[in-house]
Symmetry: D2
Subunit: 340 residues, 4 copies
């Protein structure tokens, strides 16, 4: 069986999560998120947030995005996203299916800036075009980049001035935070809402939507039920986030994933290969000759990302909370052999 660097959701869950599931299995709990684990997990997460924020658990990222975005936009309003944004590129029209246009901005690195958004807004005509009302960013981005504190603050201030909501897709938030100087409290302070990704950071499933803006969280649970995002056994989501936010496990797993990626990058660089981007998160994009790729494919699974020229391709390698140092080192060794 080949080892996969395809993504960060190839394995199950962190052992501490499984242990908690086992230990609480026979305890009766209320349904639909009214269980004690969910309540305790929310309390724990709120310690990082401002006093009025509310937390809601859902099963996955597309569900988090579509439920939140459709809840806050008026029918004629649209969301602004980088062209590479997950909601535009890889969610099968989930946002449009709720009735809203995504207006896209071309970027070099998957990140939006006040200048880029301002240029876009200049082209918007009233009435005959949708009204942009929400800015969607991902951290880390689909290209492995991340936002620094200064960058997020600048975006936030711009959005405040322009009357735009700011929403951060945190499917890979743990990795994004571990890569730079942003804290969870910073994100809470400088967005209207964001979600904390569990699926890609050690949970069986689950994302925690955090709504900081008190104008936006009222009745949000109705939207969840209506979109099929309110689990009967909500305990399963609450319990996992309870474990993840006890003793900083969530942050630790993000650090681990990045560390393994850095180790991998370092090894690849040592062998003389270039990278498409200079990533500090858990997704890296080395450029290999196609012949090398063919040899690596005998032992590993990973995605091609971009054809550079007839001979070279950038591939995507993803590490995770689970990735072991031994596997990373083995890959570098195999790469060395493949390149001979």
């Amino acid at each position: 069986m080949k080892y996969s660097f395809k993504n960060d959701y190839s394995e199950g869950a962190h052992p501490k999560i499984l242990e908690a599931i086992l230990q609480t299995n026979e305890v009766q709990q209320n349904g639909y998120g009214e269980d004690e684990y969910s309540m305790r997990a929310k309390k724990l997460i709120k310690e990082h947030l401002n006093a009025e924020a509310e937390v809601f658990f859902v099963s996955g990222g597309t569900q988090a995005n579509l439920t939140f975005i459709s809840a806050v936009l008026k029918p004629y309003q649209s969301v602004i996203s980088a062209e590479t944004g997950h909601i535009f590129h890889h969610e099968t029209g989930a946002i449009e299916a709720t009735g809203h246009k995504i207006e896209t901005i071309a970027t070099l690195d998957g990140k939006l800036t006040p200048a880029l958004i301002a240029m876009h807004l200049n082209k918007v005509e009233p009435v005959h075009m949708t009204m942009p009302a929400l800015v969607y960013i991902s951290n880390s981005t689909e290209l492995g980049t991340f936002y620094s504190k200064d960058e997020l603050v600048a975006l936030w201030e711009f959005c405040q001035q322009r009357n735009l909501w700011l929403f951060m897709d945190g499917a890979r938030l743990a990795s994004g935070l571990a890569a730079g100087d942003l804290t969870l409290a910073d994100v809470a302070k400088h967005t209207d809402a964001f979600y904390i990704g569990g699926t890609k950071n050690g949970a069986l499933l689950g994302e925690a939507i955090v709504i900081n803006n008190v104008l936006l969280h009222q009745d949000f649970v109705y939207n969840m039920k209506m979109r099929g995002a309110l689990l009967a056994k909500g305990r399963l989501l609450g319990l996992q986030f309870l474990v993840l936010f006890q003793n900083g496990l969530f942050f630790e797993l993000g650090h681990h994933a990045n560390k393994m990626a850095a180790q991998l990058s370092g090894g690849i660089k040592t062998l003389g290969y270039d990278f498409l981007t200079d990533s500090k998160t858990n997704q890296i994009f080395p450029v290999f000759p196609n012949t090398v790729i063919a040899k690596l494919r005998e032992q590993y699974e990973f995605y091609d990302w971009l054809k550079i020229n007839e001979e070279k391709t950038a591939v995507r390698l993803v590490t995770s909370w689970f990735t072991k140092l031994s596997v990373v080192n083995e890959f570098v060794d195999d790469l060395k052999l493949a390149g001979v």
Copy 2:
């Protein structure tokens, strides 16, 4: 802590499911339902189905209903449901949120019949009213009743004649099947689609949508992704159904739930109490004096269902795959004391 008869999703999962999750935790698998457990589970379920049927796993019942129904209806088409149907009564407008009207029929017992539907169809005018195209039934129903084989066959033949799809909500399918003479193969043969409920029958979460009609399952997975119903770690759903369908565990758990309900009913009858309906499934509706209810509430949790008169109320008691005989007997003992 009070014991809860409120529903059949108060506990976690069957131990065999937890065991399988533990054992496979470190095995890498593809995402989005392309894992080997999902594939094996589908194969196992298909042994009960016709050759062309396809199986799809989603997180919950509302999600199953909205994803399937919105996938098969044209924009101007509607779904017919009993007034008590879960999609009409308790899913926060999830179907309407996908753009479709639910046309309701009043029933005595939560069950639709060819005669009831025929009367409804007589009132439908073309063009200015929606066109009914799908009949939604639940088995067991929200009132604890279930369909016999004859009843389902009659509905199916009627729907075939009238060019209506027939869809069965199987949130409590295990209990519904255990109560009567229907088999899973019968359901597969006499519906266009149905779903097999895991959440209420021993899984942590998960429902298996079965689409028997080859005209309806093409590209269904696009709809799942679009509605946020395609889990990244689909393995979690596949694995659970794999366990549930090995050695008939799924059916066994349904039988157990019904048996516990029958034991509970028997004890209550012996004490001289009446019932709102004569249920053979895992939901029973005894009628108690309000004074008795008040005493029971000191030790148990359950829902009031219907006020009979100033002195009496029908309550709902739900047993499950997990309910223990000792608890049932204790309840009957406590009821005896409460009625003194």
Copy 3:
């Protein structure tokens, strides 16, 4: 050719409207409602309204209903309507197609009251059911009844207390107002929004949506464009309402329609026939023997409304701004002959 009493939109437009269209035909005007006729018509209508109200012209009633209702509801919110309400009964799921459930209340006469709505609200459970947020009424109703000032004020005060918007479908507003003691200013004062029907009161087409509540009209024109309700040659709508509201033509035509209906009712009563309802608007519902109906059908077109028994049927006769006294008298004469 048979004479039709089927509806109030069988003929074209009032001659004054046609004259205005002819006279202004070659004048260049801005598109999309920015023409001078629309602006003058709005000003004229606003003389009846409070200072902050805004007026918007659209092509038809279903369009008015769906554009307004979908603009003010949040995704999980629903609209309350009588079971006989046009939006529920005869608009092909137009409201549901925008994502919203209609919650219905059975009535005797097509009219909602605070008591009826209060009883309905008692049954609404949070989160798992949609949240009613808007009350939809028609004046005159689909059954020919109308609201008195006291009735509307009572509804309005109830809606204010319960945090519900109140919206009046005025497809037949001219007839509704002419029948009772309500004025246009009363309607403006005691609803959040309503529309003034042109199509059924002498226009070629067109309804004027009036939004009294300043919270609701912001950006409404975006919704119009998005729903395909913003006409390029908006002048056609504006000009017609300009004519209708000059010298009270709109009100005069409503009076005429009712007067013709009263004349018709009077004649029918004189001949000894009963009525299904005691209508004072332009729709009347006499009960005739089927033999009489068969004879009338040789010369007239009209709809059967309700089968009373094997021998008798209530029919609907509709008069309009155009109906001539001579035609009414002829019908009564023919009815006399048919009954011999």
Copy 4:
């Protein structure tokens, strides 16, 4: 008052249309498109079509686009359009509001080609991206260009091969046809559906949707009613198309608009000015110095289209069925003076 070259819907309707409205005003007709004028108009239009085509009248272009496109796409399917396409650029998210993504292709001239679409299709991934199912083109385009017969046939054959519906937005079809070698019969033969624009070619309002593909027109009228696009007095639309298609008036008016544009272009060229595109339809895009534009603006209204550099701007001048030769000549004279 300034003369406007802003668009082709600044005036009312062709005198023959007004005359027909006047003459038929008192004739009773059935509602909702069941009137005799609509039936006769459909018959007349069908003489240009294949035997199975069906014709449906609606009020405007956005309504035509959204009603048709939402009727034929499955929920997860998308429409392909040029980036300049009206549905993407200027309809306030009307298509997205019905739940569908628009996938855009950058073009030089607003026209799609098989090669451009093929390149786009190569980038589409299954399941995680929407499935393109319909190609939307405009003729003439938003940039004044048009499709030749060869170009349309090539597109049609490509769409047939790739299992894509082909839909033509004909808001300016009369001008598009008059510019090249395409006939209405060609359009009918080489698209699945298109619409014939009345609003911009002499009608008060109205577009005729033609559905050539028998798979697509069944029950279409339900979609019209549901979207608020079925006029009660459908006679108004039918009658206008009846007049437009008697004695070729529709085609004649398109020719006139183009002829006036050609005359205008000729005059402008004579004065030495360049054009942004070489348009043969009724929209032309001359490039003028900003100083000239400022002088012209004292007497004329028109839209700026594209800033060429600090000194020059391309403007858009639109002629119509109504434009008089004298006005064109005057403009050229005034341009001459302005350029001195």
